[in-house]
């Protein structure tokens, strides 16, 4: 099982289930995971200040499903109240739970291709948990092969997810704070220069007094740049800059982290070692097994 953390919600899923749809919204959103043939799991969240009336919600919900679902049953799995029923050729189970620690109502939807796998359902539901901000003030994200630590006040602003190319941007409401996390694959087809040169080419001209260093993350060579963020323009805010890049030999992916941090967030800045806020997660990468029938 692979551990995912998204919007302070943690869940463990089978290694061949990939996130195909996601929402960056904090108040209300959804992530959908699929195996190679179909969507298998959906995580919905909705921020609420207080626990909603669950019994009433379940009754209302069951009545809306009557038209499309058959054999609807109420059930409880791993402490989660829910409903299960047949929809055409698949069994769909929906469960809901409120996490007061993060003030979020979570709905988990598990889709079974033919028969309900209650053991898998129980393992997944048992793994769903709130992941609150840590005592140092960081929120944690674990997704797309990256394990990230971001200041709690930063919001998830942009994302680019393509095959072998993933980038996530977190930023604060004010100031130049921008933390960018990237993961690249298919290196043989495009990385034609040494990693140090590539990292330098990715460094914005606004980074002054830059210093390049080489180091190690355990045994993996890492290249680092740090300096000061001084964009041209009188009104543009200054800050600190740190970036690191490395190639993890376990999944052959290039990991790149860039931090532009303002004075007000200096305490969070990773100084010379930007890799402190991002770890590679090669367990997210699994080669597809050859298909055996359908």
């Amino acid at each position: 099982m692979i551990d995912w953390i998204w919007r302070q919600i943690g869940v463990s899923l089978p290694p061949d289930w990939e996130m195909l749809q996601f929402s960056r919204e904090s108040k209300r959103g959804r992530c959908a995971f699929a195996d190679r043939r179909r969507f298998r799991f959906e995580l919905n969240w909705h921020a609420f200040a207080a626990e909603p009336d669950f019994d009433r919600m379940m009754t209302d919900y069951a009545s809306t499903l009557d038209a499309n679902w058959h054999d609807i049953q109420s059930l409880r799995c791993a402490g989660w109240p829910g409903l299960t029923g047949r929809r055409e050729h698949e069994i769909v189970s929906r469960f809901g739970r409120y996490f007061p620690l993060i003030g979020v109502l979570v709905e988990a939807v598990v889709i079974h291709p033919e028969t309900r796998d209650s053991e898998l359902e129980s393992r997944i539901l048992g793994s769903i948990r709130p992941v609150p901000v840590d005592p140092e003030g960081y929120q944690r994200w674990r997704t797309f092969g990256m394990d990230l630590k971001v200041p709690a006040s930063f919001s998830f602003a942009e994302s680019q997810v393509q095959p072998a190319r993933c980038g996530l941007l977190f930023q604060s409401d004010k100031g130049p704070d921008r933390w960018i996390f990237r993961r690249y694959g298919m290196l043989k087809s495009w990385l034609k220069t040494p990693l140090r040169e590539w990292l330098e080419s990715q460094t914005d001209p606004a980074v002054r007094y830059r210093r390049l260093e080489s180091g190690l993350i355990h045994t993996i060579p890492v290249e680092r740049v740090h300096g000061e963020w001084r964009p041209r323009g009188l009104l543009l805010k200054k800050g600190l800059y740190a970036a690191s890049a490395w190639i993890d030999p376990r999944d052959q992916r290039l990991y790149h982290v860039q931090c532009i941090t303002s004075k007000s967030n200096h305490a969070f800045h990773p100084r010379e070692r930007a890799e402190k806020i991002m770890a590679s997660c090669p367990e997210f990468f699994s080669l597809p097994k050859p298909s055996i029938g359908k």
Binding site: E42, V92, P288
Partner: protein, 131 residues
């Protein structure tokens, strides 16, 4: 928990049909050049538009073929389209060759294949894949 909207789980997986499809190379396409790096230049014959009748066809001469350049990765994919392999098996092979996950490979392969289909380099047979 109430959800009146159509959720992801209520939508069919749109990629399923394509996985079982079989791709065939256009027999009329001619290989003009094969570079040592594996890239290929193909010439695909074009059909004369219906409106090109005399006297217009005496003046307007549309090209008889369209050239398509395939980079080494694209050319290896094109060569793998032998009329027997399903898209799913192509996706698996591509994933293994380039260390990608299944869906990373699927999106790469299907988007590339779609562009080749548009250019007439490949043809698709849906539902004839191996069980």
């Amino acid at each position: 928990m109430k959800s009146e909207r159509t959720t992801t789980s209520e939508l069919p997986a749109l990629w399923q049909d394509l996985l079982s499809a079989v791709l065939l190379r256009n027999q009329a396409a001619e290989v003009l050049d094969e570079a040592p790096d594996g890239s290929v230049m193909l010439a695909v014959p074009t059909r004369k538009p219906g409106f090109l009748i005399p006297p217009f066809s005496w003046i307007i001469r549309p090209p008889r073929e369209r050239l398509t350049h395939l980079d080494p990765i694209g050319a290896s994919l094109w060569r793998a389209c032998d009329g027997r392999a399903t898209v799913e098996s192509l996706v698996e092979k591509f994933a293994i060759q380039h260390s990608l996950t299944f869906h990373e490979s699927r999106v790469s392969v299907t988007s590339y294949v779609t562009s080749l289909l548009r250019r007439g380099v490949l043809a698709v047979a849906v539902g004839t894949g191996q069980p």
